[in-house]
Symmetry: C2
Subunit: 227 residues, 2 copies
């Protein structure tokens, strides 16, 4: 079954994938039979993170590589670097990303006292910044609100929704299909890339709620057709 | 049953309550046995809106009054004016609001092309602006993401969560109790008033999603203790 999915599958690069979010995505995509290229600027760290992901995923193909190689080999590129490395990383990968689908999961989070807030960006959001840096890429904002701990906790299915914002309809569809590969996440079409900043704010809200309840929260959009 | 609730109850003012959101809240609070003072700057409009609310609510006490009277008589004041009237309305009501609980449901929404965005406010959010304007009031941000059509549609129970942000613990508790009076809304503690702007952004995100799906959406926070 997983093998069958794998044969259909798309190759996904996780740029800056050695952090908890990247490893978590590698685990879930790996389990879904997707070929994952877990990228880092340091090959040894990428390979180490990849073996940890495979161990947790139990099944699936996750390979550690340099960010550059990961982006070059992938059909779809997901960026999960901390915001501090967002611009530099994307500039370096302009050539291998080219006109590929670039899913930006980065959130410009800032701690302000005991609160999480969103740094105001001139571009409006990290994803819009990516689009300015890489005008040929088909940028999609998604996965911003999905927590690393739930991604890694394979004893439980994921719950909640992933809001997907993009201007390119095909890139949006490919990303929504990717979301559906993780049981039982649901993609929700959030409209154009201009709405990416709104989803970023949801991430900060959830982190603040996590602090109050000592929980790992996500969101579900109510009132959509089909529940 | 409703009568019993009513006897326990708090008196709630809805400032600027003649719009769809205010009428919707009057309907739901009225059905819950809460005494509602539906306020407007125009007494005839307030009375007209109140009768429409009562008609829809089938049961409950909703009375139309001037904003000033509503705020003076109420235990808890909810502001639902359009953002354009937010500052002026609050300035006028400084005396009758005094140190009461002031629930701010106002969202500084702006249309930008086909998108809904949030106007950046110097104070950070409408609720924080209210706190600056009325330093004695115990300001709470809540109900921003709850849609007018669902409030008015009494054939269906409400679903989803209301994020409640406040610095005053008692005011927060009173507001969370008020949310629980509407079946089956759940209050979620969003932390301090500084987080109100994050909830505002959720409203804009939901309105954009509504546009894509021609739906009336809300949010539910997943992963909280007890579901």
């Amino acid at each position: 079954m997983r093998r069958a999915c794998h044969e259909v599958g798309v190759k996904v690069a996780l740029i800056g994938g050695t952090g908890p979010e990247g490893i978590g995505m590698a685990v879930r995509f790996g389990r879904a039979g997707i070929e994952v290229l877990l990228g880092s600027r340091d090959l040894a760290r990428a390979q180490d993170a990849a073996s940890r992901a495979v161990e947790r995923a139990v099944s699936g193909s996750v390979r550690g590589c340099l960010n550059d190689d990961a982006a070059r080999q992938a059909d779809l590129v997901v960026v999960v670097v901390p915001y501090a490395g967002h611009e530099a990383t994307l500039r370096e990968l302009a050539a291998p990303i080219g006109s590929k689908v670039l899913v930006d999961a980065v959130v410009p989070l800032v701690r302000k006292g005991r609160s999480f807030v969103i740094a105001p960006l001139a571009a409006g959001s990290a994803a819009q910044e990516a689009q300015i840096l890489l005008p040929d890429a088909r940028v999609v904002a998604a996965f911003q609100t999905v927590g690393a701990s739930e991604l890694q906790d394979v004893d439980h299915e994921m719950e909640g929704d992933v809001v997907v914002c993009a201007d390119d309809p095909q890139a949006k569809t490919a990303t929504m299909d990717l979301v559906r590969r993780i049981p039982v996440l649901r993609p929700v079409d959030g409209g154009g890339l201009a709405h990416a900043g709104l989803a970023e704010h949801v991430t900060a809200l959830l982190l603040n709620i996590n602090r109050v309840y000592r929980a790992h929260t996500g969101i579900r959009i109510t009132g959509l057709p089909g529940g």
